[in-house]
Amino acid sequence: MSKANAINYKKGKEPHAREYRLVFKNVDRKGWDPGIDCYLQDGGYRELKKALLMDPVDITEDVKKSGLRGRGGAGFPTGVKWGFIPPNNTKPVYLICNADESEPGTFKDRYIIHQDPHQLLEGMIISCFATGANLAYIYIREEFPEGARILEKAIEECHQKGFLGKNILKSKFDLEIFVHRGAGAYICGEETGLIESLEGKRPYPRIKPPYFPAALGLYMCPTIVNNVESLCNVKHIIAMGGDAFAKLGTARNTGTRVLCVSGDVVNPGYFEVEVGHITMGELIHDLCGGLKPGRKLKAVIPGGSSAKVLRAGEKFKIKKGDQEIEIGIEDIPMDFDTLMACGSMAGSGGVIVIDDSRKASWILNNINEFYAHESCGQCTPCREGSLWMKKITDRITRGEASPDDVETLESVAFNIDGKTICAFGEACAWPTESFVAKFREEFLADTSEKYDDAILNPETELAAAHLSSET
């Protein structure tokens, strides 16, 4: 990147040499502020002007060509998603920016929203123009109060400059964007749950079919829900063209990706890299300064806490060209397809590194508590199973579980996986499935057969209690 030389970053926040700053170009930049003047001085809204002269269909085509895959977690191609709006649609189209960043381990949207709101708005305005949306919302998590204020101010600035409102830059395109604050619910990151929430209802995800948002979304109208980082990328696709964007990263895994590393590394943080250009080992040792002194790698959760854990020492079979090769955890290139081939996922880009000082059961119990707390409770397996898993791991960490409980724990996860309305089922099942499968011995070592017959809450006692209370 030729310009990169001209950009200076705050001391101690300089990007690593292996990074490729595109979406995070302005994060931690010296002299940078979230105001529109700063953004305009840096060439901001140039892509909007360019896009408004294009045919919206061509923009969608460009996004398709770019190969951009959603950065929220599912990795679904953004352009293809846009293309799902029914061709003969006569209803209004809505666009929603999913800024409900809440997958544990993920903290990229926070920086874009707080430091570079106009990049997001520019990407959004272009995306609305491409999809024909005249009303858009930014669904931002309640825990970003400052972020919501910054975005509202940025929207106001856009109105003043004519980038929002009626007849934007004399293009005859009208658009209003509003900030909508959530109230602390992970499930609102699920796009149909988000839509229900935005409709003022409990954020119960909708069944798909029939409620695919691109056809039956907000107010039963076609609705595009895109992640913050995905929308920012749209601006860059317009800047460089879809074909050029597709050359970044690797085939089918194009562009850059903001990887968020937390846990047991010396320098946790965010790193924007070309997708697939660095391996897990490079990420941990080169970009994050390695593990803490004297510690060994135990495991990595590679894509937010719902991603299946990868164990150090595990061998993965992946395809390289026509050949199948075996690699270790540190050799995994950080892209969508390889991580999937390794039985996990790139997810939201949140990488949680776990060293040998941690107990697997403690980690899993923490994750299970999160999902039990966040299950919306709409459908049976997740509502009942998420809390059950948490209760079992809670006992395992307290040393009050029997070996049978480990088996039960695993089968509860299997009974949730694939059987729920939304992907939360998998999100809460995968940690348990993978931790138990990969650390079974460790889990079993924490149990004792003396708890085999321990029934903490005997059914008979309950029945007796009911009988006495009813009469």
Binding site: Y204, A372, C376, G377, C379, E384, K419, T420, I455, L462
Partner: protein
């Protein structure tokens, strides 16, 4: 579009079937004789797909990748099926051409076992004292998909119990499985958005807002559709174990709608009325008023024996004596001096026998007592008589108007003898003093009342609800059957029998022995009934006359069916 194009080929458990396009998978399976267990799905409500009990293994013809050959059909023209590892809910998904469904595969069974276990872990196993026992869907599917023991070693989630959520309904939140049927019923059918879920996850509880209650006139339907013992009826709970109830199909007689019902009785005591599906009348619902309007059957004021007024006091008489006395007295009057006040609550057969009595004696003045009240925007009709249309058809259109003329005649003294059938004359324009002037007052009643007190002969009659057989015609012109669920108390008899006996005493044998004989006579006399018999009417009734009104609830339901929101 040709008929063939409207049909979709679906393979269910290895067998190919054809069903109309748009059929839900669960309904297709039902039609193929494969019941899919479910909790949240209800054909009359929207499908949220939340219980996950109806998950099935599903497959579609494989989609060839670019360059691949398309799959080859077998000798019957069916494409192979590529089974999908992820199960699908059968309640909300519609069938598609070439789809395969497995209702008994390993995957399907695993799903059901898993969901059953989840539903039970936090559910109190208080079946012995649960009012839903015997008709609980958890119990039902536990037999097939449950296990003997529980793997759940944790503390159950505690929730509110015995919650008063309205005057007629009680809620046990620990039993609730969050299927949301009741919430959807209140929102979608009763337009009373009063129930809701609070809190979240495993702690989710059903409830009403503090200070609000579920008190709308359709609330008890939520008890019927609650698949578990979470919602119970204050009126019915702990009265009788449901497996002891003998169920009889009948109709409600509290208004002109004629909602189809099931009467649940044991040993001549009626315990409850519940709605029975009829998509031409009441869908799957009924109003609370009609549902609970049967407790008068066991009233202390119930008349159980015929009575004769002698020396200013009533004494119990045998039937033959009472009928004989009435006939003897009636013979003393000129037909022009006699009038009959019949009731819109009588069955067609009873009305027909009243007409026969009139014909036997030559009586021309015959009326019914109109009862009008408020209609609602759902099922309740403004006509509070269940059989006004039957009365008009059998007795003639003037029956409503003649009441005033008869009342005037009694007052003037031109009418001196009156036969009142199941009507309290003091409530329909007659005054006590004028009635006292009558030379003869013969009446039948279910409950003792002032008219009975003034009568020279009193017959104890049976109640329309649950005690008698017969037919009625509702406001929309539908001929429907009532069936007897319990024996009437004491010596009470159906009016058609009383009138038969009276006519016989007055005019000799009339060849009527059974209710079927009355219907046969009626079918031979009134052209609308031509060719019909009680058997032909069936449990769903028959359209007989032109509808005089539309049913708002059904209209809206049809709209929802059109839109594909509900199955119907």
């Amino acid at each position: 579009m040709s008929e063939a194009n409207d049909k979709v080929n679906v393979q269910i458990d290895g067998e190919w079937h054809q069903f109309p396009k748009g059929t839900r998978m669960i309904e297709a399976c039902r039609l193929a004789g494969k019941e899919i267990p479910h909790y949240c799905y209800h054909p009359k409500l929207s499908s949220p797909g939340n219980c996950r009990m109806c998950l099935v293994e599903m497959g579609m013809p494989p989609r060839p990748r670019p360059g691949e050959d398309p799959p080859k059909p077998d000798k019957d023209g069916h494409l192979p099926i590529q089974w999908i590892p992820r199960p699908a809910i059968s309640c909300a998904n519609t069938i598609a051409e070439g789809m395969g469904i497995r209702t008994d595969s390993q995957l399907t069974n695993e799903c059901r076992h898993g969901v059953m276990e989840f539903l039970l872990i936090n559910h109190p196993l208080d079946c012995p004292i649960c009012d839903q026992a015997g008709e609980c869907r958890l119990q039902e599917f536990s037999v097939e998909f449950g296990t003997g023991g529980s793997r759940f070693r944790e503390k159950k989630v505690k929730k509110p119990k015995n919650v008063d959520i309205g005057p007629r309904i009680r809620l046990d939140d620990e039993r609730c499985i969050m299927c949301s049927r009741c919430i959807r019923f209140c929102q979608e059918v009763a337009d009373d958005d009063v129930l809701g879920f609070t809190d979240r996850g495993s702690h989710t509880v059903l409830g009403v807002h503090p200070g609000k209650e579920l008190s709308n006139n359709y609330g008890l339907n939520t008890v019927d559709i609650c698949p578990v013992g979470a919602l119970t009826s204050n009126d019915f709970r702990f009265q009788m174990r449901v497996w002891f109830l003998k169920e009889t199909n009948s109709i409600c007689t509290s208004c002109g709608r004629g909602c189809n019902i099931i009467a649940g009785a044991r040993e001549d005591k009626l315990y409850r009325l519940t709605p029975r599906d009829n998509n031409e009348v009441n869908s799957s619902w009924m109003c609370d008023y009609g549902r609970l309007n049967f407790h008068f059957l066991t009233s202390e004021a119930r008349l159980t024996d015929p009575m004769i007024l002698e020396h200013r006091a009533h004494r119990i008489a045998r039937w033959s004596e009472a009928v004989g006395r009435a006939a003897e007295k009636l013979k003393e009057f000129d037909a022009s001096k006699i009038a009959i006040i019949a009731s819109g609550r009588m069955t067609n057969e009873e009305l027909f026998m009243a007409r026969r009595l009139g014909e036997t004696l030559g009586i021309e003045k015959i009326a019914i007592v109109p009862r009008s009240g408020e209609a609602d925007d759902y099922l309740v009709s403004a006509d509070k008589n269940p059989n006004t249309r039957g009365a008009r058809l059998i007795l003639g259109k003037k029956v409503d108007k003649q009441l005033k003329e008869i009342a005037a005649g009694v007052k003037k003294g031109t009418i001196t003898a009156l036969i009142a059938l199941d009507e309290n004359l003091l409530k329909c324009g007659f005054e006590e003093d004028t009635l006292k002037k009558l030379d003869l007052l013969i009446s039948s009643h279910i409950l003792a009342n002032p008219t009975a007190s003034l009568s020279h002969v009193v017959f104890p009659s049976t109640a329309t609800v649950a005690e008698k057989r017969g037919t009625m015609i509702n406001r929309t012109g539908r001929l429907q059957r009532l069936n007897q669920a319990i024996d009437p108390p004491g010596q009470a008899m159906d009016l058609w029998e009383i009138l038969r006996d009276l006519a016989q005493a007055l005019g000799g044998s009339n060849g009527v022995y059974l209710l079927e004989d009355v219907f046969k006579l009626m079918a031979g006399t009134i052209k609308e009934f031509e060719g019909l018999s009680l058997g032909k009417i069936g449990d769903q009734g028959l359209p007989l006359l032109k509808p005089k009104e539309s049913i708002p609830l059904l209209e809206r339901e049809r709209e929802r069916i059109e839109k594909g929101i509900i199955v119907g």
